[in-house]
């Protein structure tokens, strides 16, 4: 039957429809009824997961205690461990990206080799094949050169877990090898504190709350030690004044009560100017000096002879009156702390500047006091056995002959790696093992390092990603992340030690560095019995246990290392370093006049050594500091991080930009005689007219490496405590011009 659309029914329907439309067009109802039950469809990633204890093993003050959440064998999320009162249950922007690092599609899954080197023609190989190639090469080198000295290890801070010193152990176990010795980061300051106090030892950073005056000198904890900020703020709430001294308005400087924009590399002059003013006004703690220091009388003579407020002002660019006020406040507010940053000592006079600041703390009696101190870092909680590192040499091993007749490894300067590789002979270096390190990204003059690679027969890199260094290696071995291995970690800033549990199985065929050593040992011994002394098997958790000695157990207040599984422990150290007055210098006192320094060609007193000057051709100083998004060449390449921080830029002062015709967002070329980078300009008055700032990072697919412009200029100190002088990264002079 055909449907008959009667007028009536049609009109009825229409009326109803119109009424509805009219009603709803009024917009009466404010809130829609919830269309679903409680669960809106946003599941928590960590729900129902098993929790493990971990420690972030990166080269960072904060070395956070972490918890990892694992479900069905997959890491679901991470969080801080609330047991650690310093990191306080929190991580950082980098730490929270860990799941994306562990499961990154870019992560190395299998051993690979490429022929020729640098071609990108990667071929997956088995572990057996990889180790076969490596072992045969080691043995061939031994045969040709009579020793394993042509094999060089470059390893540093990619992973600071104690078991990772097994990499050095692996090298030792095959014979005497060449080692890249030293540290790029902080050696000048270490030596300075070694000359002054005997070693570096900061107050417990949690003790900062007791300070009434805090000078953050060339340090940017708001970006590089975020967990310290809580204590600095707490001190401020109790009435402390926070002062930041820095050539640029860093994030930390933006939060300070007083910010002083100092001319780069002149910090020593400021400290000395303050010291002179303190001396003149009788604010010196003579009693403390008499009991605890030597050489202060000569220091005062020097101050009276060579240092004036006017000179300090002229050198540093800070008004004399301001220096005087700062000196008065620092000397008369008790207790007062100075946090000396690593950026401060990355200059040719960096070590000397740290010594001047140490002297400032000493003469005002702020050393050895809670809430005081000249804080730099410490190694007090690193007294492990280093069993993983200590391996005997195989019988018949030949090394470098020392004056006393014994043999040793050969050492080259890690801070001039490329040049040293090229210039080392008898025997030359022919094979590289690179782990926890990325020299093609992080070294100054990477162009020279690249050139040196060309003379190598075999380059092996162990890493998580195809970094620049890995990309120019012959063999790349996939490393485990700290979630996939056992370990133990200490910090060089706070006093906590934590165990790092294995939370998940290794990613594809990734292996822990110690496991790699064991496999290599087995392979070497199969080819040539006795050629390697490294154990060929072992349980990593047990190895962690072997790192503990009675002293460490006592320090942590535990009787068995497994107690750390219930949470990290804080070392039982006095909150104030040097409170006992037992300085570890030869004299047992603070050596304001150092007995050791002259042995290294350095002034005995913390006198001012003039800063490096720019040339007329390259008048701008390029700072390449650390920032929050990356830790050296780590983290910035992670997808979540690339989304937040997609590209590099150089910070330029408006006056400089105007002089060069550069607008915000323009592409610019930053260059000097050794290299250049092109990147976007960001105009900001947080920098100084003669200072450019570009942050060091690895942006995965971008051809950006700020180190192309950085020369391997050594800093003044570092040889005593770390074997080689440091690097004056921030004494890098460039010019800039607009491109496109």
């Amino acid at each position: 039957m055909a449907y008959q659309l009667t007028r009536r029914s049609f009109l009825k329907g229409l009326a109803a429809g119109s009424a509805l439309t009219a009603l709803t067009a009024y917009g009466g109802l404010k809130y829609a009824a919830p269309a679903a039950a409680v669960e809106a469809g946003y599941p928590e990633a960590g729900a129902g997961a098993k929790v493990f204890r971990n420690v972030c093993p990166r080269n960072c003050y904060d070395t956070c205690s972490m918890l990892s959440y694992v479900k069905d064998g997959v890491l679901r999320k991470v969080s801080g461990d609330p047991v650690n009162t310093f990191t306080n249950g929190r991580l950082c922007v980098k730490g929270y990206t860990y799941t994306r690092r562990v499961y990154s599609p870019d992560r190395l899954k299998y051993p690979m080799k490429q022929e020729p080197r640098g071609s990108g023609k990667w071929q997956r190989i088995s572990w057996d094949e990889a180790l076969e190639i490596i072992a045969r090469k080691i043995l061939a080198i031994k045969k040709e050169y009579g020793s394993t000295l042509p094999i060089c290890l470059n390893k540093y801070s990619g992973n600071f877990d104690i078991l990772h010193y097994g990499i050095e152990g692996m090298m030792s176990s095959i014979g005497y090898t060449t080692r890249a010795l030293g540290t790029p980061c902080w050696p000048a300051g270490i030596d300075a504190q070694t000359y002054d106090f005997g070693t570096l030892w900061n107050n417990d950073p949690e003790d900062l709350v007791n300070s009434r005056y805090i000078i953050l000198w060339g340090v940017n904890p708001a970006w590089t030690s975020i967990h310290s900020m809580r204590f600095i703020y707490a001190a401020r709430e109790k009435g402390a004044k926070i002062v930041a001294i820095d050539p640029i308005v860093t994030q930390t400087a933006a939060k300070a009560d007083l910010y002083l924009q100092i001319k780069p590399s002149t910090d020593g002059a400021l400290a000395l100017g303050m010291a002179r003013h303190i001396l003149d006004n009788g604010w010196v703690d003579v009693e403390y000096l008499k009991a605890n220091a030597v050489g202060w009388e000569e220091f005062f003579e020097y101050l009276r002879r060579e240092v004036t407020l006017e000179w300090a002002s002229k050198t540093t660019g800070i008004p004399a009156g301001v220096i005087a006020d700062l000196a008065r406040e620092y000397a008369t507010t008790k207790p007062a702390a100075i946090w000396i940053g690593y950026g401060l000592q990355r200059h040719t006079n960096g070590g000397q500047n740290v010594r001047a600041i140490d002297a400032l703390a000493a003469i005002t009696g702020n050393v050895g006091k809670s809430g005081g101190g000249a804080l730099y870092g410490h190694l007090e909680t690193w007294g492990f056995n280093y069993a993983a590192m200590t391996m005997p040499k195989p019988a018949g091993a030949v090394g470098v002959k020392k004056p006393d007749g014994t043999m040793s490894d050969r050492f080259i300067n890690i801070n001039n790696f490329g040049a040293e590789l090229l210039n080392t002979n008898d025997p030359p270096i022919k094979m590289l093992w690179i782990a926890c390190r990325n020299p093609l990204s992080q070294d100054p003059e990477p162009q020279v390092v690249q050139k040196a690679f060309e003379t190598m027969d075999l380059v092996v890199t162990v890493d998580h990603f195809l970094t620049r260094t890995a990309a120019w290696s012959d063999i790349v071995l996939p490393a485990t992340t700290h979630f996939e291995e056992y370990g133990v970690n200490a910090s060089y800033w706070h006093y906590w030690v934590g165990i790092n549990e294995q939370a998940i199985e290794p990613y594809f065929e990734a292996k822990n560095d110690v496991q790699i050593a064991m496999l290599l040992a087995a392979k070497l011994n199969a080819l040539e019995p006795g050629s390697c002394t490294y154990p060929t098997s072992g349980n990593l958790e047990e190895w962690v246990g072997k790192e503990f000695n009675p002293k460490m157990l006592d320090l942590l207040g535990i009787s068995d290392y497994r107690e750390l599984k219930k949470g990290p422990h804080k070392a039982k150290l006095p909150p104030a370093a040097w409170a006992d007055g037992k300085f570890r210098t030869p004299s047992g006192k603070i050596e304001i006049k150092s007995s050791e320094a002259p042995k290294y060609g350095l002034p005995a007193l913390p006198i001012y050594v003039p800063e490096k000057q720019p040339s007329p051709e390259y008048p701008y100083r390029l700072f390449t500091p650390h920032w929050r998004y990356g830790l050296h060449s780590q983290f910035q390449n992670i997808d979540w991080m690339m989304n937040v921080s997609p590209e590099p830029y150089v910070e330029i002062h408006p006056a400089t930009a105007a002089a060069k015709g550069i607008k915000d967002g323009d592409w610019v070329k930053v260059y000097n005689e050794i290299g250049y980078v092109t990147l976007k300009a960001r105009i900001t008055a947080t920098t100084a007219p003669e200072v450019l700032v570009a942050y060091e990072a690895w942006y995965k697919d971008l051809n950006y490496n700020i180190n192309y412009t950085v020369k391997a200029v050594p800093s003044d100190m570092g040889k005593k405590a770390t074997g080689n002088r440091g690097l004056a990264f921030h004494d890098n002079f460039v010019n800039i011009e607009k491109v496109r």
């Binding site: 659309l5 049609f10 509805l20 439309t21 009466g28 109802l29 404010k30």
Partner: protein, 273 residues
């Protein structure tokens, strides 16, 4: 810049063209002859437009849910109104086919009403405080201008093919109306541009982007200046001209499509920081 939103560009342009066509055709032709061209054609254009609009959804299979928030959502209301318009046009066609001309005419008039309300709802969707370039009357005006330009232009073409479809479209009246509307369009756009210059940094950014974009100038040429010239020519054609009408329609379509894409693509959200 923001998304060019091509599915929405085509949807709004064609839906508005259909409604504009109804404006031209319903008063004169509804209830008389040519049910196919009076009802089915615009229904078809509208339906095609709505199907294209599904392309802008992440989950078009659940598009029916869009009818459920009439209480406050202009998008919900737009979906309802255009759906009603389509159904009413179908009803008109069926009625006309069944010989019930007065009923057909009623349905057509109601279809026109809901179509017009639909265009209004379409525009109001975008009148959002969070998008300064959209947050003004000009959005509503341009949506209607699109309808009133494209609809008659389409009608004029069809009138040449089917004389008597809409007799009053023939001759100078339609082209004179078009000229007026084009001039109105130009003037309102000029005033809109000056409005943008004073409506805050985001609106100013829209303005500078538009003026710097070659597409904007193409839109000016194809969508206003060239049609003005063609309309002027058409005025002098007593019986109209198929070729000129066709050229006019294509120019206007190009102009409106580019203009709509620019509307979506250059709107700058409120800045934060």
């Amino acid at each position: 810049m923001t998304n060019w939103e091509w599915p929405l560009v085509f949807f709004t342009i064609f839906a508005q063209m259909a409604v504009g066509y109804l404006v031209m055709v319903v008063p004169g032709a509804a209830g008389k002859a040519n049910p196919r061209w009076t009802y089915l054609l615009p229904a078809g254009i509208l339906a095609t437009a709505m199907v294209i609009s599904l392309g802008h959804l992440g989950h078009p299979e659940n598009a029916y849910r869009a009818l459920t928030h009439l209480a406050s959502s202009w998008l919900s209301r737009e979906v309802l109104l255009f759906s009603l318009c389509f159904l009413l046009l179908l009803a008109a066609y069926l009625a006309a086919k069944g010989g019930k001309q007065p009923l057909a005419r009623l349905a057509a008039v109601l279809a026109l009403a809901s179509g017009l309300l639909g265009v209004l709802a379409s525009a109001l969707i975008y009148v959002l405080p969070a998008r300064p370039a959209w947050y003004n009357f000009h959005t509503v005006l341009t949506f209607f201008l699109t309808a009133l330009l494209l609809g008659p232009a389409l009608g004029m073409c069809l009138e040449q093919l089917l004389p008597g479809l809409a007799p009053w479209l023939e001759g100078g009246l339609a082209s004179r109306a078009l000229v007026s509307l084009l001039l109105l369009s130009i003037i309102s756009s000029l005033s809109y541009l000056t409005f943008l210059a004073a409506a805050g940094p985001e609106a100013r950014l829209t303005l500078t982007t538009l003026l710097a974009s070659p597409w904007w100038w193409l839109r000016v040429l194809a969508g206003w200046l060239a049609p003005l010239a063609v309309s002027y020519q058409l005025r002098r054609q007593e019986r109209g001209s198929l070729s000129l009408s066709l050229v006019l329609l294509l120019l206007l379509l190009a102009g409106e499509l580019i203009g709509r894409a620019l509307f979506y693509g250059t709107a700058v959200p409120l800045a934060i920081g």
